[in-house]
């Protein structure tokens, strides 16, 4: 049941990201819904779930986009692990939690992407990439963080209820 929920969630978010979002967010920036889902899964379910979700979401993203293998997979797995570590130390009802967590995760993923691309032989102006891509992406991701976080939060509450 749990696996089915995560599978459907990733599939829905991936399809929205590939079809609807490019029409709404033009100009080369758009939110990464899967990153927001991995962050929320980490904060609400812990690192085991988040690492698995990060692996699965990143794998599908890499295969669907034809990107360098690992470009989405590795940062999402690491993000899941890092935010999963914080699971027991956060106040889960706080509305600011997903906002700041996703902002931090976007910056982390951006830095990781730059590092990964440099190692893969794709040099770039790192400072310009950070200012012009990572920071706008952080704001876009914050926009989508709350609905995704609360969808996963309500799912976690439902699981916690006695049958």
């Amino acid at each position: 049941m749990r696996a089915a929920f995560w599978f459907v969630l990733v599939l829905i978010l991936l399809v929205i990201q590939a079809t609807i979002l490019p029409l709404l967010f033009t100009g080369g920036h758009r939110p990464d819904l899967l990153l927001a889902a991995v962050v929320s899964a980490g904060l609400l379910f812990g690192k085991d779930t988040a690492i698995g979700l990060g692996f699965f979401a990143g794998l599908l993203q890499d295969l669907a986009s034809g990107a360098i293998f690992g470009l989405n997979l590795l940062p999402k797995m690491l993000t899941g692990y890092l935010f999963g570590l914080a699971e027991r130390n956060v106040f889960k009802e706080n509305i600011l939690l997903p906002l700041f967590a996703v902002m931090a995760a976007t910056v982390f993923q951006g830095l990781f992407t730059m590092f990964f691309l440099l190692l893969s032989g794709y040099p770039m102006d790192m400072f310009a990439y950070f200012i012009q891509q990572v920071i706008p992406a952080a704001f876009y991701n914050m926009l989508t963080a709350i609905p995704i976080h609360y969808a996963i939060y309500f799912y976690s509450r439902r699981l916690a209820q006695p049958v």
């Binding site: 590939a18 033009t26 293998f69 470009l71």
Partner: protein, 286 residues
């Protein structure tokens, strides 16, 4: 404790495997063709439905945007001329599609040197660094890898992966893309290579031009035909800025692409061309 170590070992092995795979396949164009094709094929029907919904939704928002513009114009012009009240708010999705397809048909008529297959865009890139699209035509329609993809406005990219009824197209905005080009102006004809720009995806760069190369703002850039993928003479874009590279002997030009990549709905694949495409099929970077 032992459980913890076992789990850590599994996760470490997974990460190590992915890193090794990434290092091995980082520079290859297609790493897991079968897996990639499977994922794309499974996603495509869902993407097709969602894309159609998305287009419908955008046309609704466009409709309301048009309505407010028309209303404002009406207010201003009503006093001067009654007949200017005609509005465009009854534009429907079918009419818009009709216009686009008519433009494509006109392009086919004025480009007899190309055999074109018109296909619809059904999915975009879910990644953040790459720039690809998925179209609803494949090998059954005569589409093959490395064919050029265009719209009536100019060059879109090239086919990088083909299934029976689907193809993945790498846009010229993708940082891995490189297109051999020429400055169209007769007195210039400077040749160069356009590469996608990860920092500003909508502003690809004409790179490594000599400092004294005759490239000025406003120059139209067309494909050179070198490289084996793109036929000669396709419009790529217009130079909007020329920047000297720091401390070097070269400069680069920043382009405004001829195609509006944010609004791609139909594209045409050049399945046959009488224009030269050069003799070095491996010349274009993937």
């Amino acid at each position: 404790m032992r459980f913890f170590y076992k789990k850590a070992a599994i996760i470490s092995a997974a990460v190590l495997t992915v890193i090794l795979l990434a290092v091995f396949f980082a520079r290859e164009a297609h790493k897991f063709p079968l897996l990639e094709k499977t994922v794309v094929s499974i996603l495509a029907p869902v993407e097709y439905v969602a894309a159609k919904t998305g287009y419908g939704f955008r046309h609704v928002t466009d409709f309301f945007g048009n309505l407010s513009t028309v209303y404002r114009d009406n207010e201003t012009l009503r006093a001067q001329n009654e007949q200017l009240r005609q509005t465009e708010f009854n534009v429907t999705e079918i009419m818009a599609e009709n216009d686009r397809l008519r433009a494509m048909l006109d392009y086919k008529k004025v480009s007899p040197q190309f055999s074109l297959v018109t296909v619809a865009v059904i999915g975009r890139d879910p990644g953040s660094w790459t720039n690809t699209i998925v179209v609803n035509g494949g090998s059954n329609d005569g589409i093959k890898k490395d064919m050029a993809v265009v719209t009536p406005h100019g060059l879109v990219g090239n086919v990088i992966q083909v299934s029976a009824n689907l193809a993945k197209v790498q846009l010229i905005l993708d940082p891995r893309s490189a297109v051999g080009v020429l400055v169209q102006r007769p007195e210039s004809r400077v040749a160069g290579i356009i590469e996608g720009n990860a920092v500003q995806p909508l502003a690809p760069r004409l790179k490594n031009l000599a400092r004294d190369a005759d490239v000025v703002i406003g120059d139209k850039i067309i494909t050179s035909g070198f490289g084996g993928i793109y036929p000669k003479g396709l419009l790529v874009g217009e130079v909007v800025d020329v920047v000297d590279d720091e401390g070097g002997l070269v400069k680069h030009a920043i382009l405004k692409p001829a195609v509006d990549f944010d609004r791609l709905e139909e594209v045409a694949v050049i399945v046959r061309s009488s224009e030269p495409t050069g003799s070095t099929p491996k010349g274009d970077k993937q």
